[in-house]
Symmetry: C2
Subunit: 277 residues, 2 copies
Amino acid sequence: MKWKRSERLVDMTHYLLEHPHQLIPLTYFSEIYSSAKSSISEDLTIVKETFEEKGIGLLITVPGAAGGVKYIPKMAQQEVRQIIEEFIIELGHSDRLLPGGYLFMTDLLGNPELMNRVGKVFASAFSHKKIDVIMTVATKGISIAHAIARHLNVPVVVVRRDSKVTEGSTVSINYVSGSSRRIQTMVLSKRSMKSGQRVLITDDFMKVGGTMNGMKNLLEEFDCELAGIAVLVEAEHADETLVDDYYSLVKLHEVNEKDRTIALSEGNFFSKGEKLI
Amino acid sequence: MKWKRSERLVDMTHYLLEHPHQLIPLTYFSEIYSSAKSSISEDLTIVKETFEEKGIGLLITVPGAAGGVKYIPKMAQQEVRQIIEEFIIELGHSDRLLPGGYLFMTDLLGNPELMNRVGKVFASAFSHKKIDVIMTVATKGISIAHAIARHLNVPVVVVRRDSKVTEGSTVSINYVSGSSRRIQTMVLSKRSMKSGQRVLITDDFMKVGGTMNGMKNLLEEFDCELAGIAVLVEAEHADETLVDDYYSLVKLHEVNEKDRTIALSEGNFFSKGEKLI
């Protein structure tokens, strides 16, 4: 069956969106649509221009016999700012205040549409870097890690506090948690990563950065390299931060339990000078 | 700026795919594209036919002033079978065998493309049911829960083994784990669910169903209703299963540690008579 251009455009858009960061040979499309490569090229030009115009992402064409087309999710700067603004408003509601000055964020981490957008923000920021794995620590970072991973097309590994039989052989390290200065343990399945892989670490919340630093140390045990750190909310604190070179979307300055107010601002995402579209 | 049909089709496809199970008024599209509603209707017919032809999903049109269009992810039966077959082959590799007859599945649960497809399988099966929340238990069910949730556009709640300060007030229950017959505890943040909500429970693995049964009991504490149970792998066992009316993709029959063989078959997904496209 021969496909019309309009039908090809719909199906091609779906296919590209489902296969980010994957090189798709033009022959793949010309075969399933029984269409000439020249028609497919014209289709892709339309998709490319629309993706760029609407801030959906980039379509990169690799020429040659081993070439093809690759969709790179890339969010427009304006949309990133909008997500951050919405997030600050949502997080600033006084009913999120918990005893001890903590913020209730679990509902946001369980919101698939929000997580999908946050994942695309970080995937956009790291789209030009070589990333092989996304690492997070159980439990709350998992939804962000998967959201980023889906847009970068790389696997997620989850560090745990305890060893489980279903993880097989594990590597375990001790680290000092940032705020409480207690010795803690983290465990990762030995099969999770291969030596030499480049790893993006992510979590929902970071204060001094003890957990992040623990994950960084764990990377060394696997002979892996740190490719970047992505944090949803960082909290202001008096001590020195244990990791640098991280991206945060939102910064928590102060929680006043008496007045029930929460002071938040934009994180360092833009001030770090990340170039988006 | 007036948009051409070809550009509208690309952008519309992206927008619909990003907003599953959401009613989008035609005026939304006619305004952003500065196009007549009649043109938008014609566009949507092309999208609808292509989505159905390629097994991407359904496009449902709701007529009237409060009407619009809704994308329902719905996977073709053939693709579901293919996913199950691939999964059985992948899971059957002898190097997945762990001491005690367990299977190493962590890498599969961390594979975003596979999880996305598995999520769409279950979202397709439950697309005609009213579902308000997806519930799972930490840690390994989280990636499946989020994958289903994204296709159904509903939030995820994660049951934990222990209470954390960041969860706020919690509801805790005791339950008997299926295989070991030990008393265990599960905890869920009080704010997670409202009474009357319909909940789809999911997990990566189920044997006797003790954990599933625990989550079912937890639903009662919240005055919520069970809408369904979705399991990636169920294991054969001699005892009576504690929950019924679940869907599984794969069934694990036997693990032979001496010969290093794993016997797997299709789960009950199709035999339960689920009607897909």
